[in-house]
């Protein structure tokens, strides 16, 4: 158990509703100039969730797993955006899936939610969901200089994090160098993810980017996600993969950052099953 201040955090309700997919009405342009229809943002995905591969979906462009919610009031949405965390509990409060429960599984600009398959089939676009937002202000005792962001306290406890030699040791599925971090760079870690770029064929192979799964816990080297988002030598950032592959230059699977610190505070250990699908009990963890 990590010692945290979770009992001192405000737990409060925020709401959102399932949003319809949108289309820009034109082709998106790939890095070599190829036109393609990109689909996958917003709406309800019946067959894609955490634990699935990000790569390989036909026409997939920033696929958001599960269902995507927002709050149509701009000021209310700013609060939803700032307060809800990955792993927070969600309940459907209107429509045929009323009473169904699930979890927040990521934050792109909007949040993605997992529901059980039978509930996912009953929910409709525009149905409302309420979230018990819990996690803003979370700190790990004795490690207050590690920046904790957008992670629900119970999920943080389930990630297999140990303390060794004064460092947090975080199980990760993969780690990535600073040069491959793309769209979302320089933006605010609280409000948006940033992408592992998948538009250089050479680095796709060198860094095994086709193996990335929705929900993977990953490490970003020399990256500091604290008061902003940028390069800092030997800093380590831990994040969760929240959306899919991209064919737009500088884009790719998105990472919501959850832990970040300067040198010497966070170390990592490889675990191919470091994925929130297993931590949240959404999928059964493969036996070793």
């Amino acid at each position: 158990m990590l010692q945290t201040n979770e009992d001192k955090l405000v737990r409060m309700a925020v709401q959102g509703e399932v949003i319809h997919p949108r289309s820009s009405g034109g082709y998106s342009t790939g890095p070599e100039g190829e036109p393609r229809i990109g689909l996958g943002m917003s709406g309800i995905k019946y067959n894609i969730t955490v634990g699935d591969l990000c790569w390989g979906w036909e026409g997939g462009e920033h696929i958001e797993p599960g269902l995507t919610i927002t709050n149509k009031d701009q000021k209310e949405n700013a609060a939803l955006s700032a307060l809800a965390c990955i792993g927070d509990e969600v309940e459907v409060i209107t429509g045929d899936a009323k009473g169904a429960k699930g979890y927040i599984i990521g934050k792109h600009v909007n949040f993605m939610v997992w529901l059980k398959e039978e509930d996912q089939k009953k929910i409709h676009i525009e149905d409302k969901l309420q979230i018990e937002a819990w996690g803003v202000g979370l700190k790990i005792k004795g490690y207050e200089d590690i920046f904790v962001n957008k992670i629900a306290p119970p999920l943080l406890q389930k990630m297999g994090i140990k303390i060794k030699d004064g460092k947090l040791v975080v199980p990760i599925a993969a780690e990535f160098p600073a040069y491959i971090m793309g769209s979302g760079y320089g933006m605010w870690p609280v409000s948006i993810d940033y992408d592992i770029e998948t538009t250089c064929p050479t680095s796709n192979d060198e860094l095994n980017l086709k193996n990335i799964r929705f929900g993977d816990v990953v490490a970003l080297k020399d990256q500091l996600n604290m008061w902003g988002r940028g390069y800092y030598k030997d800093a380590v950032t831990i994040g969760i993969v929240i959306h899919g592959w991209s064919n737009i230059a500088g884009h790719g699977p998105g990472v919501t950052t959850i832990l970040s610190a300067m040198s010497g505070k966070i170390s990592t250990v490889k675990d191919p099953n470091a994925n929130i699908a297993y931590y949240l009990g959404i999928r059964e963890r493969p036996k070793k």
Binding site: T29, G30, P31, E32, G33, P177, A178, Y179, I180, M181, G182, S183, G184, Y185, G186, M187, D195, E197, T199, C200, T202, S203, D222, L224, M226, W227, G228, R229, G230, Y231, Y232, K233, I248, A249, G250, H251
Partner: protein
């Protein structure tokens, strides 16, 4: 010597307006600051308007409380939103068609008839699109915010014969002023510095090369020192290694993109002087030649 298709390019007018300064963060009654990489509040001004004492050739660093400091006169489009459903706004054409070296003329107000030159292009998520223009100091004082300007836009579609790559955002005259050589398919271009991919920050994933900028990170201070960024000046020509700005902006191993620094440094994590692209080669046929004087002031002959 290089050969181009300059005689085939369309030359047309675009019209813009001298912009008012804007803030990076809108202040409320409780106040709002930009937050620096290390958690300090900063006012963060420098976007938009008319700068009487900041021009191309000046240092990117050392301006108190400034962020994204744009030199000279910052121009915006006539309309930033579509005037009616189904109609295109003029902003994209204004920002895309304007090229460095294009002539700018003030067409109303007390500065009517005064001429300047395009020196830069900016814009990406969170910061507005602008075309940056230089005017001689004595003329600058006659210009008012809100004045209209005409730009003779020429440069879209410019190509260099035999070069396996693309050029962007340059008037033919500016391109010729660089005195380039194509040596066995390799295009040599003067730059003040080479920037490695990991130093490139906010702007990645942005528009095609003809629109917007991509920033060189200027925090933390150790990174600035490590990469020798302290000497960067607004208007410097720089080479970005393993970076491809063409149909979009992203990492691409083996590619080189050369661009021009449009504005000053930043203390926000992942931000810094923005580069707009002038040339790329995915196949490595663009060779940067280090020249400490490779700044647009030299080629545009402005002071």
């Amino acid at each position: 010597m290089i050969n181009t298709n300059k005689e085939k390019l369309l030359i047309q007018e675009v019209v813009g307006v001298v912009s008012h300064p804007t803030m990076l963060v809108d202040g409320g009654l409780i106040g709002a600051y930009v937050t620096t990489w290390d958690g300090r509040p900063k006012i963060g001004f420098g976007i938009g308007g008319i700068k009487y004492n900041v021009k191309v050739g000046d240092s990117c660093f050392g301006w108190p409380e400034a962020e994204y400091l744009e030199p000279g006169v910052s121009l915006k489009s006539l309309e930033e939103k579509s005037p009616a459903p189904g109609q295109q706004a003029t902003d994209r054409s204004f920002y895309q068609y304007s090229c460095i070296g294009n002539e700018v003329t003030v067409i109303n107000g007390s500065a009517k008839g005064i001429k300047g030159i395009v020196t830069g292009k900016t814009g990406y998520a969170g910061t507005p699109y602008h075309v940056l223009a230089h005017f001689p100091l004595e003329d600058l004082k006659k210009i008012n915010i809100g004045d209209k300007v005409s730009i003779i836009a020429e440069g879209i579609g410019l190509k260099i014969e035999g070069f396996d790559g693309e050029v962007f955002n340059m008037s033919p005259k500016f391109l010729e002023s660089l005195g380039l050589e194509l040596d066995k398919g390799m295009l040599k271009m003067p730059v003040t510095k080479e920037i490695p991919a990991y130093v490139m920050g906010h702007g990645v994933g942005g528009d095609q090369a003809g629109l917007g900028h991509w920033s060189i990170q200027t925090s933390p201070p150790d990174l600035v020192k490590e990469c020798g960024l302290e000497t960067l000046r607004i208007g410097d020509i720089v080479a970005c290694k393993d970076i491809l700005m063409h149909y979009g902006k992203g990492y691409y191993k083996g590619a080189t993109t050369i661009g021009i620094i449009a504005f000053g440094a930043s203390d926000i994590a992942g931000h810094g002087p923005g580069i707009f692209a002038i040339a790329e080669s995915k196949s490595g046929k663009l060779k940067p030649i280090i020249d400490p004087d490779a700044n647009v002031t030299k080629y545009l002959r402005v002071k």
